[in-house]
């Protein structure tokens, strides 16, 4: 038993351990996503490639009926031939606990690069859709969505 670490918290021990291998700080993630974590999540998908605005259309209400179930459709302009098609559509948000919403993988057999689903929004926020094309390029669009709480909530029984 090492006297130095007796009484130390586990986090301190980890930091102390890391200090010996290049002093990388461990960052404790906040409980909710932030615009930064959305950007990081997008980076994880696109890597270092640039993301251009365009080709992507987001169909989502500006003021939702209810944040627990929001209709969402994403369409990407593309001829959808075997040489020029949409490989994937990723949707991100900035204020839910996690930044990812859905990642859909398409291909030339899709015929049309349009997907729709229903998702949850914790608060008024911006959502971003990123499309990956067959030529390796990335395109995106964003939409601002207003979310209010339902007027009459259930009490916890």
């Amino acid at each position: 038993m090492d006297n130095d670490i007796r009484g130390a918290t586990r986090r301190d021990m980890l930091l102390a351990g890391m200090a010996g291998v290049g002093a990388t700080l461990i960052r404790i993630e906040p409980a909710a996503a932030t615009p930064d974590s959305m950007k990081r999540a997008i980076r994880q998908v696109v890597g270092e490639a640039p993301v251009r605005n365009g080709k992507v259309t987001i169909d989502v209400p500006t003021l939702v009926e209810n944040g627990n179930t929001v209709a969402l459709a994403i369409e990407v302009e593309s001829p959808m031939t075997k040489d020029d098609y949409v490989k994937a559509i990723h949707v991100f948000n900035e204020k839910n606990p996690l930044p990812n919403v859905i990642s859909a993988h398409l291909g030339p057999r899709a015929g049309r690069a349009r997907i729709s689903t229903r998702f949850r929004l914790a608060d008024t926020q911006t959502i971003t859709a990123v499309a990956e094309l067959s030529d390796g390029s990335f395109w995106s669009a964003s939409a601002d969505v207003i979310v209010t709480l339902a007027a009459c909530l259930e009490s916890l029984d």
């Binding site: 627990n68 179930t69 929001v70 948000n93 839910n96 606990p97 996690l98 990812n100 919403v101 859905i102 990642s103 859909a104 993988h105 398409l106 291909g107 057999r109 899709a110 015929g111 049309r112 690069a113 349009r114 997907i115 729709s116 689903t117 229903r118 998702f119 949850r120 929004l121 916890l156």
Partner: protein, 106 residues
């Protein structure tokens, strides 16, 4: 127990782009909710949905806790030949559900 609802046109012309709509019964528990004594309710979601057309994968999607309960997913595909379109959902706690629909392509 009814689990999946699939909407695929019964007939299509060869080369026609068709829309496929799917709905699956699932609570999609996010893992971020707490019960009335403060204990976290564990995550329980569908994580993957795959569609195959006569055995070939035509659509695959990863779902996250942000997807609403009873996930609705719709997508498109080109009607190439008659046959069967199969659907597969997998998720936490060994969740596994399948469905299929026949299509006649002229």
């Amino acid at each position: 127990m009814a689990r999946a609802l699939i909407n695929v046109p019964q007939k299509a012309k060869s080369g026609q782009v068709i829309e496929i709509k799917t709905l699956i019964s699932h609570i999609m528990e996010t893992g971020f909710r707490h019960d009335n004594v403060g204990k976290a309710i564990p995550r329980n979601i569908i994580t993957t949905f795959v569609a195959r057309y006569n055995g070939e994968e035509i659509f695959r999607t990863d779902l996250f806790p942000a997807i609403a309960a009873n996930p609705f997913v719709s997508f498109h595909t080109v009607a190439t030949e008659s046959g069967t379109i199969e659907f597969e959902w997998t998720g936490d706690n060994g969740f596994h559900e399948t469905g299929s629909a026949k299509i006649t392509v002229e």
